[in-house]
């Protein structure tokens, strides 16, 4: 190997790569613009839709209750709902979204209440419809308040303190560090994204530098120069690797910025997603750095494997049809790691892609099992070295280079 020749090839490939408009789109524009747009767009939409639903005053119908004016009065006092007159087609009206919910006060409710009899007040709503759920929630809250008041009055009548109802309090407290919480929610997603982007970032240059070169007729030109085939393939490989890493780095960077912007958007509306994005920002450089260290051998593996396969093809299109199914091979193990309950075991540590995805999830969650980190890094390095060796071997085969 001649490092000077490798660097000459690399610099030339870099120049050509940077001048390609498709590169600009796949590596720079997509990650830098598309991600923020998707993330911001979705969160903005979610925030505004939820806000709208919360602002709307739901129309509620009371069924019955003519003989129980007290409970009806209590319901009519709710400011967040609008009580509409009774209509027989109330069920239909809920489905048609003309009213959001209906509350059914059984006959003789008041007298049964005084006699201490069992009875049920039913709230009818349309499940899955957020505005209907809000309406039902308001009614339930009001009814619970009314019930508590009745209980208090009864206790007071018998001279019993209200504390008898709650002899002790129950409270859940979180002991997991904040990053652990974020790791469980969206941490796995970051590792998955880095892995997927390393793959997609490598895909286009891997095709362009092998099958693309054959198609444009420059393969014979470069093979007639004194550069050795090993130096040639290494220079090309380094460019594909750079492209993969650049795509991943730019994407993670833009994601960080998007999350920061999202937190700004969510500052007024406190939602679970807002908290999670805040936690992402608390991650700091260490886990992010570690994810990239773990992703590095995987990026090598992708770059070399994609090049090896693409080299078989005679044209760009042919290479694309070979590599597109590869995306699924990468997506499946990466998605599997996102499933709840899939945990890192020594056996899984040997499965490429899946192991890296799992260890990234752990790293973001703040857990560093050095044994498994070392094992996964080493095993992925072995796969990477194997695939690189194969790529170099493939570049020496005439029947592959001059396949006709």
């Amino acid at each position: 190997m001649n490092s000077h020749a490798v660097s000459v090839v690399y610099r030339k490939e870099l120049t050509e790569w940077l001048r390609d408009r498709r590169t600009l789109i796949s590596t720079v524009i997509v990650p830098l613009l598309l991600f923020p747009l998707i993330i911001l767009g979705f969160s903005y939409l979610a925030v505004t839709l939820v806000g709208k639903a919360q602002k709307e005053v739901p129309k509620i119908m009371i069924l019955g209750g003519n003989d129980s004016p007290q409970v009806v009065a209590a319901l009519q006092k709710i400011e967040t709902v609008q009580i509409v007159p009774y209509a027989t087609d109330w069920k239909n009206q809920i489905s048609e979204k003309e009213i959001r919910a209906a509350v059914d006060i059984p006959e003789g409710f008041q007298s049964a209440l005084e006699k201490n009899e069992d009875q049920t007040v039913r709230i009818y709503f349309y499940e899955g419809e957020i505005k209907s759920a809000f309406g039902a929630e308001h009614i339930e809250k009001s009814l619970k308040g009314y019930r508590d008041q009745v209980v208090k009055e009864r206790l007071a009548a018998k001279n019993i303190a209200t504390s008898v109802l709650t002899p002790f309090e129950i409270k859940q407290e979180n002991v997991a560090p904040p990053e652990k919480v974020s790791g469980a929610t969206i941490g796995g997603f970051i590792g998955y994204l880095v892995i997927l982007l390393c793959m997609t970032g490598a895909m286009y240059p891997a095709i362009d530098l092998t099958a693309g070169e054959k198609e444009r007729g420059t393969m014979e030109t470069i093979l007639s120069s004194p550069v050795s085939r090993v130096d040639l393939v290494l220079g090309k490989f380094l460019l594909v690797l750079s492209a993969a890493l650049a795509t991943a780095v730019l994407s993670v960077l833009s994601m960080g910025i998007s999350f920061a912007a999202m937190r700004y958007f969510n500052a007024s509306v406190q939602s679970g997603r807002g908290e999670a994005s805040a936690l992402i920002l608390q991650l700091g450089p260490k886990p992010v750095l570690f994810i990239f260290v773990m992703a590095l051998p995987l990026a090598v593996f992708f770059a070399a494997t994609l090049m090896t396969i693409a080299l078989f093809a005679k044209t760009y299109k042919e290479a694309q049809s070979y590599l597109t199914p590869m995306t699924f091979l990468v997506v499946i193990p990466a998605v599997a790691s996102l499933l709840p309950g899939v945990e890192l075991t020594p056996k899984l540590a040997l499965v490429p892609i899946l192991s890296t995805s799992l260890v990234c999830k752990e790293i973001i969650a703040g857990t560093y099992h050095w044994n498994s980190i070392a094992m996964i890094f080493a095993s992925t390095c072995v796969y990477a070295a194997g695939s690189l060796f194969l790529a170099v071997k493939m570049f020496q085969r005439e029947d592959v280079l001059f396949r006709s």
Binding site: D20, G217, E220, T221, P226
Partner: protein, 265 residues
């Protein structure tokens, strides 16, 4: 120290020894594209390989340029064995064919510089060398234009500059005029002649008779992977008692030309 140029004999610059190439084809089985070809080229000569499509010209030249490895036999180019020292051979060879395209996103000058660097020319000398070649080939008006924006003629000049940057002793041209218009083809023919004037050894393949008649010092007629006849044009005329090269070609190849070939090619 002054040198003592003692010339004992003129050593051949290219010498092939029973050069052979086998290809494996799924449908047709094993194919002997080149079958025991032996010939020599002396320095400063233009050697023309004449043959029909599929005769084995391209494969022979690719083996000389070490783009393909011989299955059997070998060749010595500028004192280096194509099997044992392919990189040294390539450093002494300029290879040009219709299949050797340019990198579309590099400029004409960058293309030439790239091949200069691959040939190990130090950065300090490179600029001077590139300037010299671009000026000599009258390329200064488009040296900063990207190769995908060049006309066919400009592309040919860039390709020529690319093969000349390391000042090789041997030039190999594989059907260099195939598909070119008359004016561009003329540039190439002129260039081949100029190579000889500069003392370079040239080997080129073609199926255009007039090019061979105009240029070649020695002609080799190749068919079915075998070199059938070899020699200067006057000698071939004498041997075949024919004056016209086309008639000579038909006379030499005719007996070997089978009906099956007529159908496959």
């Amino acid at each position: 120290m002054p040198g003592f140029p003692i010339q004992i004999e003129v050593l051949p610059v290219i010498e092939t020894r029973r050069l052979s190439k086998l290809f494996k084809d799924k449908k047709r089985g094993e194919i002997r594209a080149v079958d025991g070809v032996s010939f020599t080229c002396k320095p400063g000569q233009i050697y023309g390989l004449l043959g029909a499509n599929g005769a084995g010209k391209t494969t022979t030249l690719r083996m000389l340029a070490t783009i393909l490895e011989p299955s059997d036999g070998t060749a010595i180019v500028c004192g280096h064995d194509v099997v044992e020292a392919p990189q040294k051979v390539r450093a002494n060879v300029g290879f040009l064919s219709t299949a050797t395209a340019l990198y579309p996103r590099l400029t004409s000058q960058e293309m030439v510089e790239y091949f200069g660097r691959l040939n190990g020319i130090p950065e300090a000398d490179l600029k001077k060398r590139v300037d010299e070649i671009l000026t000599r080939l009258d390329m200064n008006s488009f040296r900063d234009r990207r190769c995908d924006k060049l006309s066919t003629g400009m592309k040919q000049k860039t390709s020529i500059a690319r093969t000349l940057i390391h000042d090789p002793q041997v030039m190999i041209f594989d059907e260099p005029t195939l598909g070119l218009d008359i004016m561009t083809a003329r540039t190439i023919i002129e260039f081949i002649r100029e190579c000889r004037q500069r003392g370079k050894t040239v080997i080129f393949s073609t199926h255009v008779m007039s090019e061979v008649e105009k240029l070649c010092d020695v002609i080799g007629i190749i068919h079915g992977g075998k070199l059938l006849v070899e020699g200067p044009l006057p000698e071939l005329r004498r041997k075949c008692s024919e004056d016209d090269l086309e008639e000579i070609f038909v006379k030499v190849v005719g007996p070997h030309y089978t009906n099956a070939e007529a159908h496959t090619s």
